[in-house]
Subunit: 344 residues, 2 copies
């Protein structure tokens, strides 16, 4: 049974209003009174009830963040960046993991709204997230999309240039001699997947390589998705000489499947992906990746959100597009055998 302002007021021999003033660092409280109240607060372990507080003041100084997969280092870093930026602006951050489930995501969105967070940072699970986001947009509730966009939705967003990134990644594979390049592509209808696929196609096309649907393997963007996609890839012939995985988790899953079949990377098959893998990059730099500035995604998005919350957002949605960086490591170098096979 938590104590209340009233209990504190009684113990300190003042009115609840005075207690409220002390809690909120109001100027106009006599130092002596202040001390009495502070003592009473300490004695009762009093913690102000945000629920009641929010009911009147309707500003919580709290932002919400919903990510589709906290285990993915990309989103973990987004989280870290958002936390830091929010904190600098005087806000706290509450985080929820939707585990790529639009239903769960919607629940958390409503939860956070009903907790009266001042604004929301959302990395949408899929295009279906629109259903949950639309009411927010209509009501003018402040939110910023991260990483993935939603079609026909004019709102603030921080994203990558996925087309260009995927194109460069694919061009790199082509440049070092690959011709049969598989793409593990997002099965959900989501923007990053679509855009990366487009970049992949553009690069192939520019190099005069036919873009066969047989080289496209649809998958969920997680480990198990990458794993299964490569399993089905290996079930058919001829094998590609390199794989472009839609993101880091898919690449990890792909790697598992390859290893299980005794295939080495890059000895037998090359592998590249979007998003670096935190820690791995330090402990064992190996995977060639298109590295997105994940922490910056988080911090910029949080900054945008704070601006919008504080009414400086303007009318229409603002879009920030960040550039990614190609980091070439050894996972796609062509070694023994591969060029020969490619030449077929």
């Amino acid at each position: 049974m938590p104590s209340t302002v009233r209990a504190v007021a009684k113990l300190a021999g003042v009115s609840p209003m005075t207690v409220s003033r002390v809690i909120n660092n109001a100027e106009s409280v006599a130092e002596e009174t202040r001390q009495k109240v502070l003592r009473a607060i300490a004695q009762l372990d009093y913690v102000p009830n945000r629920l009641a507080r929010g009911l009147t003041s309707s500003r919580s100084s709290t932002l919400g963040l919903v990510v589709p997969d906290v285990v993915n280092p990309f989103f973990t870093l987004v989280l870290r960046g958002a936390e830091a930026a929010a904190r600098r602006a005087g806000y706290r951050l509450l985080v929820c993991d939707s585990e790529n489930d639009p239903r769960r995501e919607r629940e958390y969105l409503e939860d956070l709204v009903s907790y009266r967070v001042d604004g929301l940072l959302v990395a949408p699970a899929s295009q279906r997230s629109k259903a949950g986001l639309l009411p927010l947009l209509r009501r003018g509730f402040p939110f910023v999309l991260i990483d993935r966009s939603i079609s026909n939705m004019d709102c603030d967003a921080v994203q990558s240039d996925n087309v260009a990134g995927a194109r460069r990644l694919t061009e790199h594979l082509i440049a070092i001699g690959h011709r049969r390049i598989a793409h593990l592509v997002d099965s959900d209808d989501n923007s990053t997947g679509r855009e990366r696929l487009q970049g992949y196609r553009e690069a192939l096309h520019a190099a005069g390589i036919e873009c066969s649907d047989a080289l496209l393997f649809h998958t969920s963007v997680d480990r198990i998705g990458g794993y299964r996609a490569v399993q089905s890839m290996l079930a058919s012939q001829p094998w590609p000489t390199a794989i472009f995985a839609v993101n880091n988790m898919t690449a990890v899953g792909a790697m598992e499947a390859l290893r299980e079949r005794g295939l080495g990377v890059p000895g037998d098959i090359g592998l590249v992906c979007f998003d670096d893998v935190e820690h791995l990059a330090v402990l064992s730099p190996f995977l060639t990746v298109m590295d997105q500035p994940a922490e910056t995604f988080g911090s910029l998005a949080a900054q945008m959100l704070v601006e919008r919350v504080e009414g400086k957002g303007g009318d229409s949605g603002r879009r920030i597009v960040l550039q990614s960086q190609l980091i070439v490591r050894e996972s796609c170098c062509i070694k023994t055998g591969v060029p020969a096979r490619t030449a077929l």
Copy 2:
């Protein structure tokens, strides 16, 4: 300006109470009335205000989790496990990252309490977390400690057998020939650090190896800590032949420092640590670790918490101790040169 029960009631031509009953799936509402209300809700994008709701009902079906470092895969997995278990029990999970700062941790703790979550999962930043936790304990607020314990605090907790784990890890290093084994040890006064240090000492003692303080390098349990610890380690002679890092992040930092100096692992120096590094284990199995069942930490803790929240917790604190598993990979094998040096 979000809409309220009253607005919905008005639109639907009923009383606010009827709206409340519809929201809460009460039986006693005529189907026709229900539909009217539901339509009004949809039309107004009405989302119940949890703040107001919590003010009366005082059950939020939400749990809070505070971790010291979301970027650390150990805690990310704890989070994942806790989320899943909470969900199975009908609760949501709100997550906060204290970034190993006891002050920040305390703020978040109070935030979550003031949001009236039903219970709290806490992986304490350090022994100083006690200040924030003690009031909760006094008030009988349900919470469960994860990973690290707080001395003289009788509460629910899920932990590792750190002494045994550290002993086995050290024994392994000794068994393969290492004699000068450095330990990167937690600088904070926290339980896991203390216990791991004890295990390390026990193993050395049992093998008749002198346990010199010169081999102990105090550090913060993150990348930068490990990095600095190894820098100072390399500044003095003679170098150890192997390093036991207090956790995974410290090991990653250590690796960075070693690489910077052109030192290979395990070629020049062996390296082992507590906690596996997610993804790395798949992409490039390399580091020998004492792997803690992180996801189980989270799910068991959440289960314990739910029991306590629902009054099935009993009077005193319950402690669950989980076993870790030694995973031997190549990061500590003794290769060229090292045994010779060891023999000095």
